[in-house]
């Protein structure tokens, strides 16, 4: 059973220029026609590089960003069309966990006040006493003690703050939790604690997760189904095991070959599929297949002109590539990164100026600097 069905979702941000007349001179197509389903009680992982639109997609599902087109059907109701009080009521059932646990907690509110806010807003409990008991229960569920109630966010470590963020999300008893980079700001030894906690909570509370992350190993570990995004569109979607065993889209292949593995033998044996250049600007995406400018398997004509549909190749495996079968069978050989770059005539680098990609990122997808491990 599907809890959420996303159909044809688009989020376009206008690019405005001009001093007096705010002329719209183009659109950044952050999310450009995405379809997928979130199955009840399961975890859907969304991966992609910064600027691919994965965070925008997560926010658009919660209506934290207004979708430009398309529908988000949450348990039979189209959220994209809800207004006012109805939307507010619907929000009780979906919550979010943010990347940076310090900036997403109000530094001047104590933990009790932070967690009570959602409970009060939705009138879930009558008395202060009841809500106090509920908060203690929530804190214990995420591995913190009642002593945390009177303390403030700065008194906790990064991992503990993320636990508070999780407790806040759980306070209104949601069905869906969107977690945007939930562990990327944490030290490695602490990441595992939070990942394990999320899995435990999912089992005991039957939660549905949409996990957005750039770390492929973490996403694979936690997700049942994984979707790979490139420039605002899904290029591949498969069950976690299938995707990692047999990535079919050229982009997924190169992404996986790029992840360093802590094992010298694997590292020495591996052949990286290096992609030339950077992500093209989403304000002016390449024609045809969006990946054709960097693709080592690009074929003439068709890839440049015809947009590939996300098609079902196997029961649990969808891919948006014209030549997925041939690539899998090995009848098309990949070119090296240099050949691809030469093929395109110009090196596919980011264009100058504060371009759309910079506007779009504003750093929100990037792993936080300075946080080791």
């Amino acid at each position: 059973m599907n809890l959420v069905e996303v159909r044809g979702l688009k989020v376009h941000f206008p690019i405005r220029r001009g001093l007096f007349f705010d002329r719209t001179i183009g659109h950044v197509k952050a999310v450009d026609g995405v379809d997928f389903d979130l199955e009840h009680g399961k975890t859907y992982g969304l991966v992609g590089e910064s600027g691919c639109g994965k965070s925008t997609l997560g926010r658009a599902i919660l209506r934290l960003i207004e979708p430009t087109a398309g529908s988000v059907i949450f348990d039979g109701v189209d959220i994209a069309g809800l207004q006012g009080e109805k939307l507010r009521k619907a929000r009780k059932r979906m919550q979010m966990i943010f990347q940076d646990p310090l900036s997403s907690l109000d530094p001047r509110q104590n933990i009790e006040s932070i967690i009570t806010e959602g409970i009060d807003a939705h009138d879930l409990l009558d008395s202060r006493k009841q809500s106090r008991a509920r908060i203690v229960e929530l804190l214990e569920a995420v591995g913190l003690s009642a002593a945390a109630l009177r303390r403030y966010p700065h008194e906790f470590s990064g991992g503990q703050r993320q636990r508070i963020g999780i407790a806040r999300a759980l306070a209104v008893e949601p069905d869906l939790i969107v977690a945007d980079e939930p562990v990327s700001a944490l030290d490695v030894s602490v990441q595992a604690q939070v990942v394990n906690l999320l899995e435990k909570l999912q089992d005991s509370l039957n939660l549905t997760f949409l996990v957005i992350a750039h770390d492929l190993a973490v996403v694979r570990h936690i997700s049942d189904t994984v979707g790979v995004m490139y420039l605002g569109a899904l290029v591949e979607e498969a069950s976690s095991d299938d995707l990692y065993a047999e990535p079919l889209h050229p982009y997924t292949r190169s992404l996986m070959s790029a992840v360093p593995v802590p094992d010298p033998d694997v590292e020495d044996r591996r052949e990286r599929i290096l992609l030339p250049g950077d992500l093209p600007s989403p304000a002016n995406p390449p024609s045809g297949c969006r990946f054709h400018t960097r693709c080592p398997w690009r074929q003439p004509e068709r890839c440049d002109t015809e947009i590939p549909e996300l098609r079902v190749l196997r029961p649990t495996h969808k891919v948006a590539c014209h030549y997925a079968e041939q690539i899998e069978a090995g009848t098309i050989r990949p070119k090296s990164a240099d050949e691809v770059a030469a093929d395109q005539g110009v090196y596919v680098a980011a264009t100058g100026g504060l371009d759309a990609k910079d506007l779009l990122d504003a750093g929100k997808d990037m792993p936080l600097p300075q946080q080791g491990f």
Binding site: S157, L216, A217, S240, Y244, V261, P262, R272, K357, G372
Partner: protein, 331 residues
């Protein structure tokens, strides 16, 4: 032959008189040989970045106490006056920082920033320096280098900026290159590009590389020798294969068991290390890792463990090392 870089008993303490002192680096000892790639690995707060700044002489003088010794080709760096250090920085040793945007000057074109090094150290004339800069940018894989020279840092993408920084660092063919988390701010596909580039440049130019990172995966592919840091000290040091295959410190094993791996079967639970990096005790009172360690015994508390040779070049600072190979823990 003496190693290129010797760091001996390096300690860095922050805090002025009267304030509580913070010991960031606590008796750190390691060496880097000519042309060798050495990794310094650890979690945030273990002192790895402070170590690199101390080697380069970039720590502020007020409120910081640095003791021990840092020698480059036998020459002690810690006592050197700033004037002489400036002659060494950029020519004998160079550094690449984590965030390429904040380490480039935003109001100066890339070309001037690259030629600056050449003019300062190799005394090149403007024309010759510009030619050399074009060559350098080309070598690090920046397309259309002549045009890029006139551009400002914000006009380059993240990967391109990091390439420009690498070009600046390599401009005078330094003997030692320090890279502090050079790929942490980049996407995986760009990270792969930069790592391949660093690997190729190190082989080509014979530069020794001190790689500072938190990512065990990056170390596994790049470094000859790995030093694992915890709370300002080396807790384990070994050749790359030895460390990943036969790492014996519970912290090393714990780190390897707590990261999910792309190539291992799915479904195995992650085994996190208890607590957080805050839960340490000072080294003077025993092993700093003891509060989080599963192997803790009485001998761990009271007396700090020494760094001892296990076999050959493998050194370990632990009273009760694990006997299980971390690889098997993962399986």
């Amino acid at each position: 032959m003496a190693p290129l870089l010797e760091v001996e008993n390096l300690s860095v303490t922050f805090g002025r008189k009267g304030t509580r002192k913070v010991q960031a680096v606590d008796g750190l000892t390691f060496t880097v040989a000519n042309g060798q790639t050495v990794g310094l690995v650890g979690e945030s707060g273990c002192g790895k970045s402070v170590t690199s700044l101390a080697i380069m002489g970039l720590l502020p003088s007020r409120g910081v106490t640095v003791s021990g010794d840092v020698r480059l080709e036998g020459r002690s760096l810690l006592g050197l006056p700033q004037r002489q250090l400036r002659d060494l920085r950029g020519s004998e040793m160079a550094m690449i920082f984590q965030d390429p945007l904040s380490s480039l000057n935003p109001v100066v074109p890339i070309g001037i920033q690259v030629t600056e090094v050449l003019v300062r150290h190799r005394k090149l004339k403007a024309d010759a320096a510009r030619k050399e800069a074009v060559d350098l940018l080309d070598r690090v894989g920046i397309p259309d280098p002549t045009r890029r020279l006139k551009e400002y840092p914000h006009q380059l993408s993240g990967g391109m900026r990091q390439r420009a920084l690498i070009a600046m660092a390599l401009a005078c063919s330094p003997k030692l290159l320090l890279a502090d988390e050079p790929t942490t701010a980049l996407d995986v596909t760009i990270q792969a590009q930069i790592l391949e580039l660093l690997k190729a440049l190190v082989v080509e130019s014979g530069t020794a590389l001190l790689m500072i990172t938190h990512d065990l995966g990056v170390v596994a592919g790049l470094c000859d020798r790995v030093n694992v840091l915890y709370s300002g000290r080396v807790i384990e040091s070994a050749e790359r294969r030895e460390l990943f295959g036969h790492g014996r410190h519970p912290y090393t094993a714990g780190l390897l068991a707590s990261v999910p791996r792309l190539d291992s079967p799915r479904g195995a639970p992650l085994l996190p290390i208890r607590g957080s990096a805050r839960d340490t005790i000072p080294w003077t009172e025993g092993c700093a890792f003891a509060p989080r360690c599963d192997n803790v015994i009485d001998a761990c508390i009271g007396r700090p463990p020494e760094l001892t040779d296990v076999d050959g070049s493998h050194q370990l600072r632990c009273c009760n090392p694990t006997t299980v190979r971390p690889v098997e823990v993962l399986g």
